[in-house]
Amino acid sequence: MWRATPGSRASALAVLLVIALLSLLPMVRLVIAAVAPGGELDFGAFAQRLAKPAALRAMWHTLDTSFFGALLALCLGGPFAIAVTMTDLPGRKALGFLLLLPLMIAPQVTALSWLHLFGPSSTLLGMAGMAPPPGTPNPMLGRNGIILLYAVQHAPIVFITLRAGLSRIPHDLVEAARASGAEPLSVLWTIVLPVVRPYIVAAAALAFVSGVGNFGIPALLGMPVNYLTLPTLIYQDLSSFGPGVLPQITALSVLVGVLALAGVACQSLALRGAAHRFTAGTPARFELGRYRLPLAGLGWLVVGFILVLPACALLATSLVPSFGVPLGWQTMTASNYAEVLVRQASTVRAFRNSILFAGSAALILAIGVIPVTAVLERLGRRWQRLLGGIIDLPYAVPGVVLAIACILLFLRPLPLIGSLYATPSIIVIAYAMRFFTLALKPVATAVGQISRDLDEAAAVSGAGAIRRLMTITAPLAAPAAVAGGLLVFMSAFNELTVSALLWSSGNETLGVVLFSLEEAGLGTQAAAIAVSTIAVVIVLLLVLDRFGRRLPADVLPWR
């Protein structure tokens, strides 16, 4: 049995195949649709579509908002990750738990609730007598609002990714620094953050790519003031009627892909020389001393601001019979809940479907991603970077476009499996394609930091590659895999843009139901669904938390 044998080459090939199927295939299909609509190659038209000023402006907007959104998300999620993992902040578990929630609220719902919060109709500001007069432009509209909400929406991604890294820093590294006379803050700057640099970069990259591909937030905050990003521009183009619509939006998607790849390039640039391996240990704890309570207060304030307020706004909306009716004891009604949860069978079905689809995708990815990373680990850095970029693509392009790619790919019956179109499978596959990178990033980072000798020790114990994978790499990467799985689940649970084109009757998802209510002007019923969604997810997480007590430490990102 030789190294670099057919066996190990086969495993590398298998992984390449998986990546090709999940990530490259849809993109290639899109590029074909972009440059060769109807089978005729036409680069001139392709270039023309991209050179439109609207496209260039949207591209600039996308870059701008995604970049600063990611930066702000880092500033928001980072401190929480540190506080929850490495300090004795009171109530840190609850804080960590709550910080995850923005990810579970669909972006358009978040955007909506923030619009309510600051608009002339704000119940809250109204109570304080601070509501702006009717007709005042909402301060959330436009670039800054989009950046702020990107940060809120993607802070959980940063939080989960960073926490996976922080919880692996052996405590003696921190102790050595403190014994050297460094204050906790300076230890943070000089030791902790540099050591987790790969995680920070991974988190920032995820937040960036998430911003590039986000539709809900710029749709509500940008389109009203004609601040268009690429996904919203694509959506607008969709409403043109002619047969040229497909090439047009696929061409724009290629542009999005290029942006995402640029992000990946920056990522690998930032990661040069930052790959450290160490044996994982229990992380060090900083005592906050007299700052404990003030910091806890600050933490709750922030969480209250980014989560509780919007959630309350949402709740308030869901309790009035119609939009604009002030909430009071007389007007309060549960009729929206009754309507969506009892009367409309589709909502309950959508709950079941979303749990099922998002759960399957999360499970498949969380498990599957470990062998994939283990094989990636053995490839050279250049390959890793390239493949990492490819995996990012389906996450970055707008969901509608990915859905189109899926239709193009899976409509015709395939050999062996037949047509997947209009089955639940196509949604699960599309989710797997789209959220592959969410599951992969934390795990790849974790596997990259597992000290080599742990694997070597298993090898000389006689364990072959597969056994080592199952008994050493997988358990050590399990916390990261669970974190990744959670990210996938929570992102997919409310997902709208992919399933919008892929659902079929009986297979509708929550996002689809929610958005169609929204579109039909039934905002209050949509809010009722959103609130129910949050409740369901919280219940699911609490169940997981219960179950998590028997899991190894650090598997659940908030514990």
Binding site: G119, P134, S322, L408, A520, G521
Partner: protein, 304 residues
């Protein structure tokens, strides 16, 4: 008749369900599978299916005629000359009988009850009292809004200057009809252009809004139904079209709160008398041909 039918529609979920249920009650042998989404998305889906070579839908029931006109030009619609169009204005169906309007969804003016005055005409929206308080759906997002724009610019004496005046008055064009409803009922804006059924329905639930049919007249989309030329079961498809145009079918639409296409079916509650609603016409074929130009113009006027 027996058969299976795939319906692509842009009707809201509950409406679509009611329509299909009513149809299947009448035609127990035919099973209808329906897919519902906004017109742009449902068309994107159809386009992708066409690109992949296998359009799945048999029947389309979508918001506007312009889209149908485009599909007809591409030869994707089946002509159904034997369709029973009695009681339906000839303006409401294609002369080649490829698509048939099923109801009228008009666009008029909505205002918040806190508004300083009650608007009665399109021109009222350009008054100084309405400065910065007007919302309208963007034609860049909504097909119905495009038709509304084409109708108004074609019928109002000022033409595009009307929109210039609106823009100068700080009117905001964004999103779809649902967004306008939210903006006006929420008080962000106090006036809006909007499809009729939304504010009428919400008012009934207590929302602080009123709907006005302006005196110049309203634009309308007509939710046409059409059979795709690639339909597998044309018999079932024809049965579906027959049902929608029948008195029973029209009454279902009225019950859902829409203005039926057939003159012999009564309007739903909350609407004024049919005679007081003046529907302005427009040229669908021209609208299709000038779509891109109109969008550009709109963008330029509203500085979008």
């Amino acid at each position: 008749a027996d058969g299976k039918l795939v319906l692509y529609t842009s009707q809201p979920n509950t409406d679509a369900q009611q329509t299909v249920d009513a149809f299947m009650a009448k035609n127990p042998g035919i099973k209808v599978e329906w897919v519902r989404d906004g017109t742009p998305k449902i068309l994107a889906k159809l386009r992708a299916e066409i690109e992949a070579g296998q359009p799945q839908a048999d029947v389309l029931l979508i918001a506007d005629v312009v889209t149908m006109e485009g599909l007809k030009k591409e030869g994707r619609l089946l002509s159904y000359p034997e369709a029973d169009v009695s009681g339906i204005d000839a303006a409401l169906y294609d002369k080649d009988k490829t698509y048939f309007s099923t109801k009228l969804i008009t666009t008029g003016i909505v205002y918040n009850t806190k508004a300083p005055f009650v608007p009665a005409s399109w021109e009222d929206l350009t008054k100084p009292e309405a400065k910065g308080l007007v919302a309208m759906p963007s034609p860049l997002t909504s097909g119905a809004a495009m038709i509304h724009t084409v109708t108004l610019t074609g019928n109002l004496p000022e033409g595009w200057d009307y929109y210039n005046a609106l823009a100068k008055n700080g009117a905001q064009a964004s999103g779809g009809n649902g967004d306008v409803l939210k903006a006006v009922s929420g008080g962000d804006k106090l006036f809006g252009m909007i499809v009729d059924y939304m504010p009428i329905r919400e008012k009934a639930k207590g929302a602080p809004v009123e709907f006005v049919f302006p005196r110049e007249g309203v634009s309308a989309v007509t939710e046409p139904v059409a059979i795709l030329s690639t339909a597998r079961d044309t018999e079932a498809a024809k049965a579906f079209v027959d049902f929608l145009l029948s008195k029973d079918g029209q009454e279902v639409a009225a019950k859902m709160g829409y203005i039926p296409a057939r003159a012999d079916v009564a309007l739903p509650a909350g609407y004024p008398d049919r005679s007081s609603i003046k529907v302005l016409g427009y040229d669908a074929a021209a609208a299709l041909a000038n779509d891109a130009a109109n969008k550009e113009k709109f963008g330029a006027v509203m500085s979008q």
